[in-house]
């Protein structure tokens, strides 16, 4: 395995509620390589966005929030950096795209200034140089008539175009890692496919690492090289995309895939997952999926499972007592 560009180690982000501290993200470890697309997938509240925000150092200033663990980027542990040092990296070497292009752009600044700002801040460009570069970036994300649109405001752009502007902003300084938090969720399918194609193409060309957060298994199948499935703040399964979809090992992943009606073939039996995701203040202490799991055994409610491979395997990790044990027996 090549040297990962970013390496998240035992990241835990806890929030303070009335009755104590509760982790929204627990013990997440992830390595992402250059030129790779990793998808973080899960339902709302599973901690996928918080993972990315914590890695970007965006949670440290939040009151009632505590981040522990390490985030290694090159030779730096980002969690140890002070805010000043972090600012030279964030938006420069690490960039992020948010879900809502409507709220993440400043409505009273022209697009050109917003795309040019990181260049002036990190690269010390002049206004004029930044404008020139902004035109190039807007052309890169295929915004027609870029030079004229430089002076327009966000409300003059459609949803898809705004998301392209966000991508251009994120790419401004040529980042090594790009976090994209549900970048296409607010878009229609025909526009979604355009934006995904664009992201894929640019990632290929600029060889950065793309961490894409989504709830849509269809998007995962389309764009990801590897997938991390999250549930209740933990990674429950981590595998190559082709492997995960072909032979999901964690019961949650399996159930999730069976709960999606498909547009390309008839779905004979759709299976819902009964119950709902427990709130963070009421997480089961052992396996967090146990109350909804069909394979539940005694050990599942007593002991917290580790995220590990089966014997002999290297890249397919699962957090499940039952599935990891069954395999050991069949391998023997």
């Amino acid at each position: 395995m090549a040297q990962p560009i970013i390496s998240i180690r035992n990241l835990t982000t806890a929030f303070k509620l009335r009755s104590g501290w509760f982790p929204a993200v627990r013990d997440v470890s992830l390595d992402v390589e250059r030129n790779e697309t990793l998808c973080l997938v899960g339902e709302s509240g599973c901690g996928k966005s918080i993972t990315a925000m914590s890695a970007m150092g965006l949670m440290r200033t939040v009151k009632g929030c505590r981040v522990t663990g390490e985030v290694w980027f090159e030779d730096l542990d980002l969690t140890k950096l002070d805010e000043h040092a972090m600012r030279t990296i964030r938006g420069n070497r690490l960039a992020m795209i948010f879900q809502e292009p409507m709220t993440s752009l400043n409505p009273v600044l022209p697009i050109g200034q917003q795309v040019g700002e990181p260049l002036m801040f990190h690269r010390g460009m002049t206004r004029h140089e930044a404008d020139e570069e902004a035109v190039r970036l807007l052309e890169l994300v295929k915004i027609p008539d870029a030079r004229r649109r430089l002076n327009q405001y966000p409300h003059q752009f459609s949803g898809g175009m705004r998301q392209r502007v966000m991508i251009a902003m994120a790419l401004a300084c040529g980042p090594d890692v790009l976090f994209a938090d549900e970048p296409t969720t607010a878009l229609d399918v025909t526009i979604q496919s355009q934006v995904l194609a664009l992201l894929d193409e640019i990632r290929e060309e600029h060889a950065f690492a793309l961490v894409l957060i989504t709830h849509d298994m269809g998007v995962v199948a389309t764009i990801a090289d590897r997938v991390a499935v999250m549930y209740g703040g933990e990674i429950v399964e981590l595998a190559k995309t082709s492997v995960l979809f072909k032979s999901p090992r964690h019961p949650y992943t399996e159930a999730l895939l069976k709960a999606i009606p498909r547009s390309d073939q008839d779905t004979k039996d759709l299976c819902a997952i009964e119950g709902q995701v427990p709130p963070i203040y009421d997480m089961p202490p052992a396996c967090r999926f146990a109350p909804r799991c069909e394979l539940r055994e005694e050990i599942c409610v007593e002991e917290h499972p580790d995220l590990r491979t089966r014997r002999g395997g290297k890249t397919h990790l699962t957090r499940c007592h039952v599935r990891n044990r069954v395999s050991r027996r069949s391998a023997a």
């Binding site: 339902e43 709302s44 459609s158 898809g160 175009m161 229609d188 399918v189 025909t190 526009i191 979604q192 496919s193 355009q194 995904l196 194609a197 894929d200 709830h215 849509d216 298994m217 269809g218 998007v219 995962v220 199948a221 389309t222 995309t241 082709s242 979809f245 159930a255 999730l256 895939l257 709960a259 999606i260 009606p261 498909r262 547009s263 390309d264 008839d266 779905t267 759709l270 299976c271 819902a272 997952i273 009964e274 709902q276 995701v277």
Partner: protein
């Protein structure tokens, strides 16, 4: 056609007027629905799909007269809804109900479940209090909510449970037709499947018909028997579900199907991109609305509105160059 349709929409049109511009606002007209006709058969789920702003929700609301259409007619079991007077309309609304997309804004936070669900019974004078209580309890059970939900308020429920409440509210009057406007779009995948299965189950046990509005092709394929595809206020294609998905003949239907991501990396969507974006309904393109994005566009597409015609049995299309 086998049986008489339960709902028939004929040449429905809706124009919204709005003001645009600053500092001198001008009145502009938005043609939200531009001549839509279809019929829903008894016991059928009729899917209405399209991207945001194509007018699918407006069609849903016009069928219940929640928004009065500008022109065109809607018939329910042969009786005109658009011509109905207040009293008739009241009666018709017992038989046609709607489920909205967002279970957070569509439930009154100050009404308990008991009041919320018994209100329609009281308004329509269906039954006395004791019987109403009984019916509320039955309906809660039918939609899969626990009996102790009776005295609770909406904020005590999760998103999926709220949508079950919305369904219960639609069912309480024993309707024959339900207009479901993106009923599962706000929900997570695992909850989505729960609700879809519940609706399918209720449809069979109560012999319901549905107008099912959605942008999710997978869900429509699972839930509906026939489907109509809308683009910018007009229907572009209509037909039985398996046909439309296996053999779409309108270039827009094809593009829509091909850009819907499928959870299977082996079938990676080809990124067969549809260039451009949906134009504004304030200033729609001439001729066929789809022509600026269409790979098959020719001169006639720019000039003439394609006629809505039956291209094969049960298959309707509006395109100058169908496949």
């Amino acid at each position: 056609m086998s049986a008489a349709p339960i709902l028939e929409v004929r040449d429905l049109r809706k124009v919204f007027t709005t003001k645009r511009g600053f500092p001198n606002p001008q009145t502009v007209h938005v043609q939200a629905i531009d001549g839509v006709s279809f019929a829903v058969r008894p016991g059928e789920s009729f899917g209405l799909v399209g991207e945001s702003g194509c007018g699918k929700s407006t069609v849903g609301r016009c069928t219940l007269q929640l928004i009065p259409p500008t022109s065109g007619e809607v018939f329910y079991k042969g009786q005109s809804i658009t011509q109905a007077d207040r009293r008739d309309l009241n009666r018709l609304r017992q038989e046609i109900q709607i489920i909205f997309q967002d279970p957070y804004s569509s439930l009154n936070p100050r009404l308990s479940v008991a009041r919320m669900l018994s209100e329609p019974l009281r308004v329509h004078g269906v039954c006395d209090r004791a019987e109403a209580r009984e019916r509320v309890r039955e309906t809660l059970n039918d939609v899969g909510l626990p009996a102790d939900a009776y005295w609770k308020f909406p904020h005590e429920f999760s998103g999926g449970q709220r949508q079950r409440l919305a369904i219960a509210r639609a069912l309480i009057l024993n309707p024959d037709l339900i207009v479901a406007d993106e009923p599962v779009s706000a929900l997570d995948v695992s909850i989505q499947a729960q609700i879809i299965l519940k609706l399918k189950d209720l449809k069979a046990s109560r012999d319901l018909s549905f107008v099912f509005i959605s942008h999710d092709l997978g869900i429509v394929r699972y839930f509906c028997e026939r489907i109509a595809v809308m683009y910018l206020g007009r229907l572009v294609e209509l037909g039985p579900v398996p046909d439309i998905f296996e053999n779409p003949r309108h270039p827009y239907t094809q593009a829509l199907r091909d850009s819907s991501p499928v959870p299977d990396p082996a079938k990676k969507i080809t990124f067969r991109k549809l260039e451009g974006e949906v134009p504004s309904p304030i200033d729609p393109p001439s001729g066929c609305h789809f022509h600026p994005r269409c790979p098959k566009c020719t001169a006639i597409c720019r000039e003439q509105i394609p006629e809505w015609r039956e291209i094969a049995p049960e298959r309707y299309i509006a395109c100058h160059h169908p496949d």
